[in-house]
Symmetry: C2
DNA sequence: GGAATCTCTGTGACAATGTCACATACACCC
DNA sequence: GGGTGTATGTGACATTGTCACAGAGATTCC
């Protein structure tokens, strides 16, 4: 139950579908939503488990990933403010177990809604239903993009894209991350990442140090993303 | 508009959700559904196009795949009898362009429903809505499996699994397929497939000839799927 | 029948990527 | 300062992808 006016208006700003909702639905929504905090780093969903709640993220990010037999990982997508773990939703609706792992990357503040409500609203409210459909469609698109990336693009180009994206998203040219973490995002191994980073460094595009990467020549890096 | 009683009962047998539907929805469904035939091989949806119809497949199969810059392909999933192109549905709902290619593999007989109806039913009928959600969830699961496969499993093991599956699905030990087609399904290149098939042949597991593969030792092939 | 022309498969060389074992370097704690 | 983690570097080798081109069936056309 959420009643703080300030909180409610903050939530409305994040979740666009609530703005379009009528009073009826909003009332029910805030009545059943619970504000919850999760500390990072911490697993949220484990592969093969059933989901009992849906989380709408207000603050912080979570990472949804697959784990390979050999211990390698690959990130399927991230969930940030204004988004929601649709895989959870998908599991709720289809009743299937969660097919991946989800982990809290930064402390998360989220609205938590019980499975039963999610189901009820899906049948009852068009606004909510559309929100759910859009989420699932978007994630399907995300995952298809991941397939495309790993199936067809060379690792060095993907790494270049990755660094640029990480750089601009933080607004900074210093990226605080380990080689292992990059490898886990891209679905490759640490050694490969180290090798390519060293290459980029020799070419003067970046500087690497323990735990971070600095972009020196974003322009040059951008060229690496498409052709050799 | 579909009115032939025989046809209707055949359709009911294929699409489980229609059996659970009330008379109301069924009537509307058959009123707006059109029976359509597509000859193979023929592209159905092209990447980047908008979808104007949703197809529920009665007979035949279609393949949904991604195309890489270098001309390589990878199959995301197939659509068979009783299924439907959910990517289309997803696009219809989110209004986004189709993010892949779809092609007719065998002659297809399908029920075609216009976008407007799909949207209307989704808001109006619980049965239909659930059908749509289940489809999207299932496909999301399929695509996630593809990610797992290409990210973590070795090609030889995937190929062994592929052959076994192809074999049992036809009920025959002779699989009529070219190396290129296998490569396109697995998202690798023809040369790699040829190499591994030759390996398998030397080990007495299969026989290969122009345009087909014969399984000689399914047991041995099954062992190849998990460990060296 | 035989030549021309497809499509399909085979092959070797090499580049890119993944794996393994182990060395080295840095950070932090006591 | 030494010990203990964690992060990175490196070389050897296996797997996979790419390229260029060679043959081997199949088909068509004369």
């Amino acid at each position: 139950m959420i009643s703080d006016t300030q909180q409610i208006s903050a939530i409305l700003r994040q979740f666009h579908f609530l703005q379009e909702a009528d009073e009826d639905f909003r009332e029910i929504f805030f009545k059943h939503a619970t504000l919850s905090r999760i500390d990072a780093p911490q697993p949220i969903c484990d592969q093969g488990t059933q989901c009992s709640h849906l989380a709408l993220v207000l603050e912080g990010t979570a990472r949804v990933y697959k784990l390979g037999e050999n211990g390698r990982e690959i990130t399927l997508y991230r969930i940030g403010p204004g988004e929601s773990c649709i895989l959870t939703a998908s599991c709720i609706i289809s009743g299937k177990p969660f097919p991946a792992f989800a982990i809290c990357e930064t402390p998360i503040e989220a609205l938590v809604i019980h499975t039963a409500e999610v189901k009820r609203w899906t049948n009852q409210f068009t606004v909510w239903r559309n929100y759910m459909f859009t989420l699932i469609s978007d994630r399907l698109g995300d995952v298809i993009s991941v397939v495309e990336e790993i199936a067809f693009r060379r690792v060095d180009r993907r790494l270049a894209s990755y660094l640029l994206q990480r750089g601009t998203s933080t607004g900074d040219d210093d990226i605080k991350i380990t080689h292992q973490a990059i490898a886990s995002d891209l679905g490759t191994s640490r050694e490969v990442v180290s090798r390519i980073l060293k290459d980029f460094e020799h070419q003067g595009l970046i500087s690497v140090a323990r735990g971070f990467v600095r972009l020196n020549d974003a322009q040059g890096l951008a060229e690496k993303t498409h052709e050799n």
